[in-house]
Amino acid sequence: MNITESVRMAIASIFTHKLRSFLTLLSVAIGVFAIMGSGSLVSSVDETVETEMANLGENSFKITRMPSVQTSRSSRRQYNKRERIDYKQYTQLKKSIGDMAFVSVESSQGSMIVKYLEFQTDPDVTLQGTNEVYFNINDRDVPVGRAITEADVEFNRNVAVIGNDVKNKLFKLSNPIGKEIKIGNQSFEVIGLLDEKGAILGQSQDNQVIIPISKFNKYYSNWWESLDVKVKAYNKESFAYVLDETIGALRSLRGDKPWEDNSFEIETNESITEQFSGLTGYLSYFGLLAGFFALAAAGVGITNIMLVAIKERTREIGLRKALGARRFWITMQFLVETMTITLIGGLIGIILGYLMSTILGLAMGLTVTIPINWIIISLTVTTLLGLISGLYPAYKAAGLDPIEALRYE
């Protein structure tokens, strides 16, 4: 079987029928683009979710007033009625489950400016108020200096642990430990330098300053703002129990009636995955559907183009049969031709799809992956498309009567 010749012929016929080929290639490319683009975007989201989960840490869950992904307006109104989680609830919760889990409290303000002498950062630093457990729960280290301690929180000390971005902006190469920085009108002593983490979902994890929650609540928080609480069970076995206890304790603290739902959200690794899989489900569903229709249209187009091509090349087919080409050879020749066209279209679509998902992914701050599996899927789909849409024309060509075909003008 002379595949190279068939491929060469296919490419030649692509060039002799430029407009027609262009339209076919375009429709195949669009179809593959849709499949490939949405597919690899979904892969990127998944990848990112995994990183995000790792961020939450093992045996941990997070308590918030609102869910982090909200799907509809009506549910938002519902959530807005919820009472905020305040410091008192946190301390009481800590009291009831503190002997079986770490409990951290977190509250933050974005867009802060941090100053040191005449230097200052852009107004994009996140100020994080928390307690001594934060570092353990969020899996962050303080390799230089020390972290926030229980005493810092208790005595409301003016101390801060700074992230690497902030350090680079304010201190360059000099040692920041022991220096006085200013946030708003409050001064803080730098006691530690946070380890470097890079960016997640497009947000740098190093552009932050961490201070005791007591200090934060006093100077940087608004009365209506709700706190986030993170809980980390001491071990895997007790996780489910801690979760149950926490929900029970918090419900009674917040006065939730037995017939009411929780007035707060619990996010575990699983629940985060679920929220995202809803989103990615839509995306891949839509992309696959659009891709399917584009490819179906392309398939019909290709079948027509090949039927015309076979009509034009009737004499050639007759000649090949006269020279002894069996049905199989003629069938293969035209199948290879159609598959060449669809594969070229497919490759264009894959490249475009990959570019789009990369650009979108970067814009959305996702971890961009090279979606090998989606490339394979796209290639398989286009090969199949060529096979299916080429089958009928190829069958017709193979069935031509050689004498009729040779006489065809």
Partner: protein
């Protein structure tokens, strides 16, 4: 006794044109032996091409039997017929019928591709065939870069390359001027002299005179079938 290649007994070919029946061949019997050189003559519409197509296994008769090298053609299916055409028959057409985008060499390779000959072997044999028609310096030329006579030589080389039992040429000089036509006929004579079996369809007396035997058809019947006493040799 020379070996009989073609043994046609009482064949007819009827075409249906709507309600009308066209009798292209009626009760034709012909037998052709190895290394014969036959000219098939007759007026237009007398059934020459029809007979050639049947001989070449491109078509099957409506009635009668056709034995090719002892094999009953009527009993073969599509693929078996294709195989016989591929291995046993070399076609030369009036309009050359070369693949326009393929080089001379590639055109000649084509029947070998269909019989599954390996690439390097194919190229060797195609080159040899091209050499035997005197075109070894035109291997990479495309058909539109060749003259009519050269194209027909390429076509003849393609017919030769499989070393077939018989070469069938339907009006091989029909699209060529007299001189070029004579060159082609000279080539056929050489092939015949080196042992090939050749049937040439023509309606030109001068062309037919090169053959050793002349069969004349009229209205689908064999009118005369005799040895050419005045064979013209180059």
């Amino acid at each position: 006794m020379p070996k009989t290649i073609i043994d046609i007994r009482n064949i007819s070919k009827v075409y249906k044109m709507g309600t009308q029946l066209v009798h292209a061949l009626r009760d034709v019997s012909v037998s052709i032996d190895e290394n014969e050189y036959v000219a098939l003559m007759g007026p237009s519409g007398s059934g020459k091409s029809t007979l050639m197509n049947i001989i070449g296994c491109l078509d099957t008769p409506s009635t009668g039997t056709y034995l090719f090298n002892g094999t009953n053609i009527n009993e073969l299916n599509d693929n078996e017929l294709a195989e016989i055409r591929n291995r046993e028959i070399g076609f030369v057409f009036q309009t050359f019928n070369l693949l326009p985008r393929a080089s001379a060499l590639k055109n000649i390779e084509l029947p070998l591709v269909y019989s599954g000959v390996k690439k390097y072997d194919r190229i060797d044999r195609a080159e040899a065939a091209l050499k035997s028609v005197g075109l070894e310096d035109r291997m990479e030329h495309k058909p539109n870069e060749l003259s009519g006579g050269q194209r027909q030589r390429v076509a003849i080389a393609r017919a030769l390359v499989t070393a077939p039992s018989i070469i069938l040429a339907d009006e091989p000089t029909g699209n060529l001027d007299t001189k070029t036509g004579n060159d082609i006929m000279k080539l056929f004579q050489n092939l015949w002299e080196s042992g090939n079996t050749i049937i040439v369809v023509t309606h030109e007396e001068e062309i037919a005179l090169h053959a050793k035997r002349i069969i004349r058809l009229r209205d689908g019947l064999v009118e005369t079938d005799e040895i050419n006493q005045n064979q013209v040799k180059f």
